[in-house]
Structure formats: structure tokens, C-alpha cells
Symmetry: C2
């Protein structure tokens, strides 16, 4: 688990942009080449590249370069990690004393 709130927040940045959710939906069907994502999203080439960078840096998506092309897919590990982190961040903990100031 990352230690700082900034690091944890970064993981969820992957999911808070509609273009990235569209890309993830395309990738749910299996590995896709950037050219397919470009065709099937509303993004231009450099815009796609920008979003793919965010998705891969957060570990949700894996990029597999192969010659001229890059193939992208959802990382099962990254997925499991984000789900575990979300659970962790919202899981109730045993309160030692109910903090009722008011």
C-alpha cells in the first residue's frame, strides 16, 4: 500500500476522467493496439498518449511495445490492487472510543 494520501489519490485519478473510462471499457474486451483505441475514442493521437501514460503509470493498464506499435491491456494485478485500496480506504476500523465531541 502506498504511504501518502497523494500516492493513493493518484491511483483513482485513472478512474476520474470519462475518456479514461472509455479506454478501460475498450480494454475490457482484451488487449488493444493504440491505433484501435485512437479510432474508437474521441481523442487525438497526443491526447490518447497522454491518457495512456496516466493509465500505465497508475498500474491499471500495461503497455506492451512491439515494434512500431504498443498494445495495451488491463493489468489484473493493478485492478486487484485498486480494488483492495478502495476497500481499505473505506473499511470501518475498530473505534477505541466514539469521537462524539458535540
Amino acid at each position: 500500500m502506498p504511504t501518502s494520501y497523494e500516492e493513493k489519490a493518484r491511483v483513482f485519478k485513472a478512474f476520474c476522467d470519462p475518456n479514461r473510462l472509455r479506454i478501460l471499457e475498450l480494454l475490457r474486451g482484451g488487449e488493444k493496439c493504440a491505433c484501435v483505441l485512437l479510432e474508437q475514442s474521441d481523442l487525438g493521437q497526443s491526447g490518447l498518449s497522454y491518457h495512456m501514460k496516466i493509465l500505465t503509470e497508475t498500474g491499471i493498464v500495461i503497455g506492451r511495445p512491439e515494434g512500431k506499435w504498443t498494445h495495451y491491456s488491463i493489468s489484473e494485478e493493478g485492478r486487484a490492487y485498486a480494488i483492495a485500496l478502495l476497500k481499505e480506504l473505506t473499511r470501518p476500523v475498530e473505534a477505541r472510543e466514539e469521537n462524539s465531541c458535540c
Copy 2:
């Protein structure tokens, strides 16, 4: 499940800011009054109010007004919903054909 990518993205906005993660951590220990959150976060009064609005609008946190005060807590329903949505957005689907253009 919300229908548009914008609506889905909004849910994860709750988790992509360090101040909001700090607030969620405080709320994991149980319901807290805004005054406690104010004390234990780096926010000013209006900043806290801004973030609490985002957290309650996404359904992750519930605000319970009681006279002058508002008590906040993590919504077990909102939590379950966000987790389910994250799973859904990243779950592999049966690919009818592997889209291998390149």
C-alpha cells in the same frame, strides 16, 4: 449503475484528492462532527465544507444534521457501490473476437 462515463468518473473524484482521503480516514473510526474533521485536517472551514459536499454528493459519505452541527459518516451503501463500480469498470468481458489489428 450510472449510464455515462461522466457520472461514473464523478464517483471516483471522491478518492482522488489527498484531503478527501484524509477525511475518509478520520471517518473510518466512526461518525465525526465537522468540528473534529476541521481540527484534524489541514483545511479551513469553507474548504472542509467544499470537500464534504463532494463526498456526500458522490454518496460515499452521509451527513446527518443535528441542530447547529453536522455529523458525517461513511455510507456502507456508498462504499459497496463504489467498490462494485470499480470492479465492473475493470472486469474482463468475454471477447467475441480478439481485436488484433496490428
